[in-house]
Amino acid sequence: MTRQITIDPITRIEGHARVEIDIDDQQRVIGSIFKVLDFRGWETFLLGTQVEKMPLVTPRICGTCSVSHHLTSVKAVDQIFGVEPPPSAIMLRYVMNLAGYLHSHSIHIFALAAPDLLLSPETPPAARNLVGLIQNDKTATIAKMALELRRISTDIGEEIGGRGIHPVTAVAGGMAQPLAEETRVRLFHRAQRGLELTKQLFDAVTTALSVNLDVLDSLPLPSYYLGMVNNGCLDHYQGLLRALTPNSTQPSLEFNGTEWGRYLKEQSTPDSYAKAVFLQTENNSLQPYRVGPLARINCCDKIDTPLANEALQQLRARFGHPCHQTPLYHYTRLIELLYAAEKLVVLLNDRSICSNQIRTPLQNITGIGIGVLEAPRGVLIHDYRTNANGIVTAVNLMVATQQNITAINQTIGMAAQQLLDNHNDEMLMNGIEMGIRCYDPCLSCATHRFGEMKMEIIIRHNHQIIRNLRRF
């Protein structure tokens, strides 16, 4: 006999995602699914359009990670035209991408994760949100710093990308225009302030966490990981894709992202618009894997900025390598925030970023372009095919949240199992919600929101509703 728990997030998430959990008579979780109910059909309607316009249109896939789609798309388009951008253009693209990271990670940490991590579990739901953080003496400073950091990231992003949301300046072969020296100096100072804030934010959050370490040590999920590395270093823009097995620090596989079709296999499920993705290992078995901050930090050997690298070593000393505790997604997101802030200062301190050589003339149309990038939530792939005139004939997109879907389902099951006997409804909902939130799932950003998830849980036994809990 099974009973089913349905968590149906209301308001914004309604119509987009829903959680269902099946439980047997022995109170064991026998199935859990995070349903994605939204589908916009990008792979279809882009057919027949001019490929050079893809970097302008595809940011509209997601308004909060538009930078990632813009850059992934332009990397694919570079290949369509068979060109490598000059070094200064690549530097500018790095800056745009890292500013996007500052924006996305800081919002996630302060608006979504901070209530989970910094407020005590007894905090009433009405205060477990952004407003609660600002009003709480202990957390107000953190919230204000994160807001200032966000402002800095939008300033830098808008300057380099031409517009803050849906940037436009990365073009086939490089960038549309060079960076003026006086702008570089201004942005350099902004980046310095950003690094100062990030250091304070990192210290404040890790100090607050040090009294709450059992949160970080929960929900261990040994899994495969996939992340980009560049000569062994963490890199969000270019490099090889490295896969790690659950039990080894040695890479099990490294491949060029353009070969993704050989290694990554998608499967549909009857209950969700999101396809699950599996890694095809050497013995041809299909393994679910995780992407995003935890995966990237597990996959890299080191980080090429000092503070982030120190934090990486401390993480490994404390939690092992590879580390599997799901809430460490938040911790690794903080490490990446440090990396992004440090790297921005380095890049903007380099005068060669202002070179006028920012665009490689285009050669011919190759017809194949595969762009791979690390988006804040994980590996992002845009795969295009065109005819000889550069008109799109096929589009295949692989987004981060899709790759985490199997792990999200498992994490929900694990969180539910731990809390099932708990008769405090609020604790059960918080626990499941917190598990989902580690991944920062982006369903056209349905859950990338300020404040808490609205949800409804229905528990059925013998088709009778025996427990109905809701939070609107």
Binding site: T11, C62, A176, S268, P270, K275, G390
Partner: protein, 305 residues
């Protein structure tokens, strides 16, 4: 003391960029919030119901049954409905030529090279053909833009609060905010975005690039041409193209380029028709443009079905 106008917000299918634009009001946000009374705003408030309001603001387009219901609930609870962003106004890029949901599922689930299963999900809500907001409910005010510039959002909302307020933005096209100089040149062939490196001070049309700024309404302050990218009309058509039956994007752009360069009107019109899917990407879901014969949206939809 006068009572503050009440505002209610709702989001349908979209990318959430308009909501980010609203958050990007930064220090202006508290000022805006002090001038109005919010009765529903999913970013800031935990309200599920649809309380009565003077103004209802809707972003995103209608794609699911949930979106459709939400739109009607907003209409029934608000005196004025504002469509904010290109999606509710014209359908946005995912309006996808009214491609039917079966075709979309086919590309994503059956004919997808990296997908090893061959079945589409079935236990999930059905998709509707994508539609603009005004095909479902009456819309009183339109603010296109992908997303609209924060200044347009503030001034647009302020016109609804204060009858004496006159916004600084009007019915201009993008060229109004673009610093590039229009000059006659000897250019003799159309160039795509990847052909050569454009002169940063000269109008794109003078250089033979198809820039849609002259036929696009300015709701963004022209960031793209300022950053070296020809306008691709994410805010949708200018008012003459939208409202005057004899005017259309193709002829207006072609005549302008032909006057500035040595390229013939016929060549430009042929190029615009050949790639009209690209040039109409943000507005193809618009019922209004589909019924305008000179807009040629209907034939594009036919050809792409």
């Amino acid at each position: 003391m006068t009572t503050l106008k009440t505002f209610s917000f709702e989001w349908l299918s979209g990318c959430s960029g308009c909501e980010v634009a609203f958050a990007d009001l930064h220090e202006n946000l508290p000022t805006v919030l002090a001038e109005i009374s919010l009765v529903r705003f999913p970013i800031l408030m935990d309200i599920k119901e649809y309380p009565c309001a003077d103004v209802g603001v809707i972003t995103g387009s209608i794609r699911t049954e949930h979106d459709r219901e939400a739109a009607h609930k907003m209409r029934n609870s608000c005196d004025i409905i504002v469509a904010l962003g290109t999606c509710p106004v014209y359908g946005g890029p995912h309006a996808g030529y009214q491609i039917n949901p079966d075709d979309m599922l086919r590309h994503a689930f059956y004919n997808n090279p990296t997908t090893i299963t061959k079945n589409a999900p079935k236990n999930i809500p059905e998709l509707l053909e994508n539609r603009t907001l005004d095909t479902e409910i009456k819309v009183d005010a339109y603010l296109p833009g992908c997303p609209p510039h924060p200044r347009m959002i503030i001034e647009g909302l302020r016109t609804l609060i204060d009858p004496n307020f006159r916004p600084k933005f009007g019915q201009h096209n993008i060229c109004f905010s673009c610093p590039r100089k229009m000059e006659e040149t000897q250019i003799s062939a159309i160039r795509r975005n990847f052909d050569g490196i454009p002169n940063p001070n000269l109008c794109f049309l003078s250089q033979g690039y198809i820039c849609l700024g002259s036929v696009t309404i300015d709701r963004c302050l022209a960031p793209c041409p300022k950053a070296g990218i020809p306008c691709f009309s994410c805010s949708g058509p200018s008012l003459p193209v939208l409202l005057e039956p004899q005017k259309d994007m193709r002829v207006l752009v072609a005549e302008r380029i032909a006057q500035l360069t040595n390229i013939s009107v016929t060549a430009i019109i042929a190029e615009l028709i050949r790639n009209e899917k690209t040039y109409n990407l943000f507005v193809n879901g618009s019922a209004m443009l589909r019924t305008k014969p000179t807009a040629r949206i209907a034939p594009i939809i036919q050809e792409n079905r």
